[in-house]
């Protein structure tokens, strides 16, 4: 038994620490901002381009990494259960820092990179200039490649663990009733995996949306992602630049808080779907 105040005393240090840092960060960020600042920033064409581009890059990276990761998890379950080296290899991208991945993507996909050299050997190009621009490019392919390398294995590992924790009785019941492996995957395991996927979708999207280093280092000069745009404005000495930076930051924070709220709702869904020892859900 415990006294009613015990959990509050235990939770207080962390709660105060987070509330203080976030409170200060937010209040300083918002202070001095008026609705006019927001109108001005939203009316700016550079901001609209940044917003749409940042959301698109995050959406594309999220879509590919979650579809790819989920498919990989299903495949792993089919062939590689217990194969330690596959799981260890998939853990490598998860611990690899983004900065290092950025270097590797540059090394492979630059116009003089490994892929371009392979294209030269295959006789597809004669000069590095003929190789398509895949880093510092307007379509942000280099940036997305970094996210994919980090996130496909992440989604695959999370989904793999989740699939293992879902009772195999569901699949067996389906097979006994004559379902093909494809039907078992699509109609039994995918719906059960949905809450997990929702969580990984939110996490991967939030990261790709808010990342700084990757677009800072691999981005095109033509447009900037929102966090990079905010940083460039923040370090700009022009009058009003700091307010514009903070307006963008508040916008980013509002989108992130929305994602966090949705995430905390899906958490409960996941707990609901997790199979217990009896194989019930």
């Amino acid at each position: 038994m415990h006294t009613p105040s015990k959990p509050y005393l235990l939770a207080a240090p962390l709660a105060i620490f987070l509330a203080l840092t976030f409170g200060v960060s937010l209040s300083i960020g918002v202070s001095g901002l008026t609705p006019e600042h927001f109108y001005a920033v939203f009316a700016n064409r550079d901001f609209t381009v940044s917003l749409v581009a940042t959301l698109s890059v995050a959406a594309i990276a999220t879509l590919i990494s979650n579809v790819g990761g989920a498919v990989l998890a299903f495949f792993m379950l089919k062939v590689a259960t217990g194969r330690a080296w596959v799981r260890h290899s998939l853990q490598l991208p998860i611990i690899m820092p983004h900065l290092v991945v950025t270097i590797i993507v540059f090394h492979f996909f630059a116009q003089t990179g490994i892929i371009a050299r392979l294209a030269w050997w295959a006789g597809l190009i004669e000069h590095p200039n003929q190789f398509p621009l895949l880093v510092f490019d307007r379509l942000a392919i280099g940036i997305i490649l970094v996210y994919l390398y980090k996130q496909i294995p992440f989604v695959a590992m999370v989904c793999f663990d989740s699939l293992k924790s879902i009772s195999h009785r569901f699949g067996e019941a389906g097979e006994n009733l004559g379902a093909t492996p494809w039907q078992v995957a699509m109609w039994i395991y995918l719906p059960l995996l949905r809450p997990t996927l929702l969580a990984t979708i939110l996490i991967t999207f939030a990261f790709a949306f808010g990342a700084f280093e990757v677009p800072f280092l691999l981005g095109t000069p033509a447009w900037r992602t929102l966090p990079v745009e905010a940083y460039v404005l923040y370090t700009n000495i022009d009058p009003g630049a700091r307010e514009r930076a903070m307006t963008i930051n508040v916008t980013i924070a509002a989108i992130s808080l929305g994602l966090a709220l949705i995430y905390s709702k899906t958490e409960r869904l996941i707990a609901h779907y997790r199979a217990d020892g009896e194989g019930r859900i």
Partner: protein, 267 residues
């Protein structure tokens, strides 16, 4: 059917190789010299360039600073998260969901955005360019991972063992050191590992709050990436990855050793 199985195996195998390939290419990049287009492999492999880079005092400084900050961050994170995760994992109280949401925020709110807000406050309070300021901002981003891991552990372990020990007459300190700590130790190791890695890979937070006073490995690395000096960058990257891995392995061995000697248990 057999063909499908083969295709599935091939996909998994390819994915696993694709995950490892970059590390191999990083090694080739670090060891190779004179590697003009269109050669697929460097024309010369040399070690002495690496030795020169490794012996530079700036790298030593960066590694020591990174390790010190990461260790302090790990300690602060665990001190804050351990009791809070216990509360959220074991007890039902008003505000538990709010606590969980609060501990999740740093994953969702981008580091750059958060740091810009805090930077201004840090200048006013004098926290900018201090070790404490850097450790605090790293801790903010390590908290969600450590919290989630320990929360899960406390949910699994429950409170029964502690209650039994207390019933048998153990004092609070005894219960903590002889029952709670050994039970959650595996989770503590994982949480510490995550906190360490997160602190070790921070760039923009250290750059802004550190105010240029703290040279960590990422801060050393970025200018070389910007300048396109892939050779130097790859050597520093390898040091980056190896230092983090070594520190983690060492930490795990030490904790396991302590664990075994003190409790005669195999975790």
């Amino acid at each position: 059917m057999k063909l499908t199985r083969r295709v599935v195996g091939l996909v998994v195998w390819t994915a696993a190789v694709a995950c490892v390939l970059p590390l191999v290419s990083l090694l080739v990049l670090a060891l190779g010299r004179q590697w003009p287009f269109p050669h697929l492999f460097p024309r010369v492999f040399a070690v002495h360039h690496i030795a020169q880079l490794l012996l530079s005092p700036r790298l030593t400084e960066a590694v020591i600073t990174s390790l010190a900050i990461a260790l302090l961050t790990t300690v602060l994170t665990l001190l804050l998260v351990f009791p809070a995760a216990k509360a959220a994992g074991l007890y039902n109280f008003k505000g538990r969901e709010a606590l969980k949401l609060l501990a999740l925020l740093p994953v969702m709110v981008p580091a750059a955005t958060f740091t810009m807000g805090l930077h201004y406050a840090a200048i006013r309070t004098g926290l900018v360019s201090t070790l404490l300021g850097v450790v605090v901002i790293h801790t903010v981003f390590a908290v969600p991972y450590a919290f989630r891991i320990l929360l899960h552990v406390f949910e699994l372990v429950g409170e029964r063992h502690e209650e039994q020990a207390a019933m048998l007459g153990a004092g609070p300190l005894m219960v903590f050191s002889a029952v709670t700590l050994p039970l959650v130790m595996p989770g503590m190791i994982t949480a510490a590992t995550m906190s360490f890695i997160i602190s070790f890979s921070q760039y923009i937070t250290t750059f802004m709050i550190g105010g240029g006073r703290f040279l960590t490995v990422p801060l050393l690395l970025v200018p070389h990436v910007q300048g396109g000096e892939l050779h130097v960058a790859s050597v520093y990257s390898l040091v980056f990855i190896l230092t983090a891995l070594l520190a983690l392995v060492l930490m795990q061995i030490l904790v396991r050793k302590f664990y075994r000697e003190t409790y005669f248990l195999n975790p």
